[in-house]
Symmetry: D2
Subunit: 336 residues, 4 copies
């Protein structure tokens, strides 16, 4: 049994993570840390855990945590997460970090886009990006895995094989994403109150969203082609799910068939990526750890639809998939 | 032209009120007061006002307001509202108060249910309850009208005629109400965030909601029968609309036909109450100032469904209806 | 391994049932029958099954089915279900029937409320009502289990212990239920189209819903007290979940504490019924096989809130719970 | 008073149209035609009309209609609409046609995209496209106005001024649109049932939607530049509203400021187009006849967000705006 702890236990990603972990036959959850509702059972915050996990929420104390846990999942916000991660690694704990602190290659890009000083700059560039479909081997032996962002997961999985195979151009790509509201996390914010979000769709942070450089860097890292992406996120009135519509320019001589075949082959053995011939709905993947991808052609362009459950393949499902790799369990354990 | 001011201008009820007032041919909106976004145009908060009302939000100053306005609508929360109302009345301004501060008959009930000291106790019991269907004449000459609560509007309109006519018992009544989320107002509160409310229904404040004594007191006042009501509000994932399902014990010898005829007759000349023979949906009344009522019989009981748009007949529409009466305009002006 | 078949495989309850069955370690799904999309893989209809269950949909043929299956779950509509069930039983197949055909005690009530001739009248009154919390022993040895209706599950679980213990009166009960839309099944009907249901709440079939006699008969059967219930269902804009608000008259000398203690004790050992002290939301139980019950007191009445996921504890979860009992598997298998 | 008739009166666009027309001081609605619910009052279908318009639904009879109406709004589907329109024009009635039958320039494109024979081919290419912001003068004197499609309205208003001013390239444009469900019309279709659409986002008809050639033809007509557009529509779980995110390549030397200024100037005097500096939500325009446009720059591209209420500026509001022009009424009558 691997003893597991969770930092930031009240959030939606932590809730889904714990839902998966209590089903995992090789996991014992030994600590759930939170700033709020200290001492209350975690099942009060995430009621579906009642009777399965009633641990009281505890205060952050990394030394104590290191005594209780072999592996920690950090669902803390950026910078707060890096601080905890740095200490836990030193104490010999393996970490899966949900924040963006260790996803980018270089300090400069991080500090430019996040507008903060990085708390443990020495670790930046050393870590593994936790997308098993591209970095499976590195994940197996990693002590620190940077769990991918939700939007980047849809884009990186859809684009990397096509760029690697020189079927599409790596510049001039547009990713137009539609996300459910849980992506914004659990919070008291008028902008995310029901009446503001319900019966409304909006674009936000055009050209300013931090997942844009993440997409570019990871695809560049995986494909060795300098990749440039214009990313526009939208908020849609649903709890869960992301659908990204991706527009790219094909290389000459390529066709819908070659694009489709490339993706189908690349993911043939993958348990959690499906290349399909219909146009998928987000509801097909909600509640699963799958990414479903469909390719079309229109007006001479490649149009790819890629969708996931932002809380599972876009966060907690991916984290458990990474955990399974790190500890040598079958990759689909607790995710079936 | 009546010069009109609005206190608490950022809220949802104020937004709907201003939507109606800019259409009113006899109204000039001269001031909109708010604590937040001072100096910004009100049309930034309520975008449908753009080009029609771009007044900047101003700070509260009752003396100045009295110079600018003949009539003020207060959308402030309780106690804050009473304080402003007391001062404005002294300054000669007529007031329509959306808060509960002047709805109850007696100080003791108010202070028990609201758990506060009333700021202007001398006015309690002196004011008119702004339900035109029951108190039209008093409203015409009132300087202060207590605009009804949203849930009470559904219950009082459905029950009063039947109690007055001795067709049903005034005790043992149950009002089970389902409300859209705008009833909770515009606020940053985790409990009303999209993901908490969407795909969820819940009961709240069973036996503790402040609209329970309001229903009882007003029906008692209008019918002269001591009325007792068990009230259970529920939150339903929609922006607007209230549907109340009301259970009462019939008096002997009465039938579905006599109940229906009583309500039909009582509201025959009313422009905003419809007694219908089908079971209504809230979407029928959303966007209108109507209350739609339907009567059924089951297992020997009277079952009444009564529904309104909580922001219109349950708040701002009723307020404009009261305003029209106070100033002698046709009652349906700006409400058609 | 038990070989299992499903009739009516395209519906929402069948979809949830299959989601559970593919996780069940002792089940092999050998046939899924449907009138539509014959020959297509069931995973095309319920995409979360992709890669886990890709059986083609087959035409109804009871003899063939009896050769393939030890147990059949029928998700067919009433009368169609009874016909299939009658034949399958004769062929030695055990059946869990989701329809209402075998829930009621007597033919007369069935034919009055359903306005049809019963296709296999000789079986009426012989069958077991599949609510394990009340009829566990009978279920174990049954060849035909009548799976409970969704609304009745909330009411029967909340009321039966209190009536059995003589804490509340068995007459004069009101059950006011709010249901998500999946309760209406998968169908092309303007009344259930998105724009008709979204942003709307409505009551329907007041005094006429077929779950009313089901509630009364089963509580009467379990408690030996003649029970009378006024039942009002409502449609609420969400996919899943039922919340029933139940009003009953307490017997003299009883208190909130005695009611709560009675329910708590009754369900102490039950894995799927929680008696809680807060007011639950449907979202707490959606995705689980739980019924969550909370008791309050107001205006001298007992007010009980009882909620379930209509597709799980209200249909497919209950069915798997019954299946586990029938085959001697741990009752929570595939439901944890 | 202009005597007005409506064909296809049960639909959502007809409902909104009638909501506007009953408020119009110069309109008398004299006939509402429908295939279903014949003889029932139109207010039964659209309950907000109760007491304001209770005309019975009548069968289609163009001769009779020509006797009752000066102007007819056709909300019929394509081809059915063209047939009626052809006859009504001959009978001297002016027509505003909501269908696509007369929007395209040439028969070939129409018959290719709609896969039908056009019933009155001689009228194709003769008609006026009812977008007042571009074709106001032609509309004034037209006997037949082709009311624009909802998606095209967002794209044409956003793009035409920039193409006309040579600020952006007229090829390589992408329009990624997100629509509420009322755009699909009122219908019994499993695909548009609540549970299929709620909590789901999907792309549909990539490269195959009929509004793609409409966008291209009208922008080409208005700008005299051959325009090519890749259009991807998406379905989003809300009743009303369209938000289009539009990507275009700027011409050299142009900037965010020049694009914004161009649009601002072009629409300065327009009552129903707002160029704003924030990123708008669809809820800002729902219930209004406005198109709100916002321009951004990212990764060297022009990114425009354009949103409307699909039932108003995208259908019935535009139709009344056209009607006002055709009859010389102030353009904003009934639309304020």
């Amino acid at each position: 049994m691997v003893r597991v702890g969770v930092l930031g236990g009240r959030g939606y990603t932590a809730g889904e993570l714990l839902r998966l972990l209590v089903r995992h036959p090789e996991v014992e959850v030994t600590a759930v840390v939170s700033r709020k509702e200290l001492g209350e059972p975690i099942s009060q915050v995430h009621p579906w855990l009642r009777g399965q996990l009633d641990l009281p929420l505890t205060q952050s104390n990394n030394v104590q945590l290191a005594g209780q846990c072999d592996c920690v999942f950090s669902c803390l916000p950026h910078t707060a997460s890096a601080e905890a991660v740095g200490e836990l690694l030193k104490l010999g704990v393996r970490v899966i970090d949900f924040s963006a602190d260790f996803r980018l290659n270089d300090l400069e890009t991080y500090e430019h886009w996040y507008q903060v000083k990085h708390p443990v700059p020495q670790l930046v560039g050393q870590t593994v990006y936790g997308l098993p479909e591209l970095f499976r081997d590195e994940i197996r032996s990693a002590n620190l895995v940077a769990n991918p962002g939700c939007f980047p997961t849809t884009a990186i999985l859809a684009l990397t094989p096509l760029i690697l195979a020189d079927l599409i151009q790596s510049e001039g790509i547009i990713v137009d994403s539609k996300s459910g509201v849980s992506g914004a996390g659990r919070q008291a914010d008028e902008a995310y109150s029901f009446c503001e979000v319900n019966e409304a769709t909006s674009a936000y942070k055009i050209g300013k969203h931090r997942h844009m450089p993440e997409m570019e860097q990871i695809i560049t890292r995986a494909s060795q082609r300098a990749t440039q992406i214009l990313f526009t996120p939208h908020l849609v009135p649903m709890n869960r799910g992301i659908l990204s519509t991706i527009y790219a320019n094909p290389n000459p001589g390529t066709t819908l068939e070659t694009w489709t075949e490339c993706l189908t082959e690349f993911y043939r053995a993958e348990p959690f990526v499906d290349v399909v011939s219909h146009l998928p709905k987000t509801s097909e993947v909600v509640g699963t750890n799958r990414c479903v991808i469909s390719v079309s052609r229109s007006r001479g362009r490649v149009v790819i639809v890629s969708c996931i459950d932002n809380l599972l393949k876009g966060a907690s499902g991916a984290a458990v998939q990474n955990f399974n790799l790190m500890y040598g369990f079958p990759e689909t354990t607790a995710l079936g």
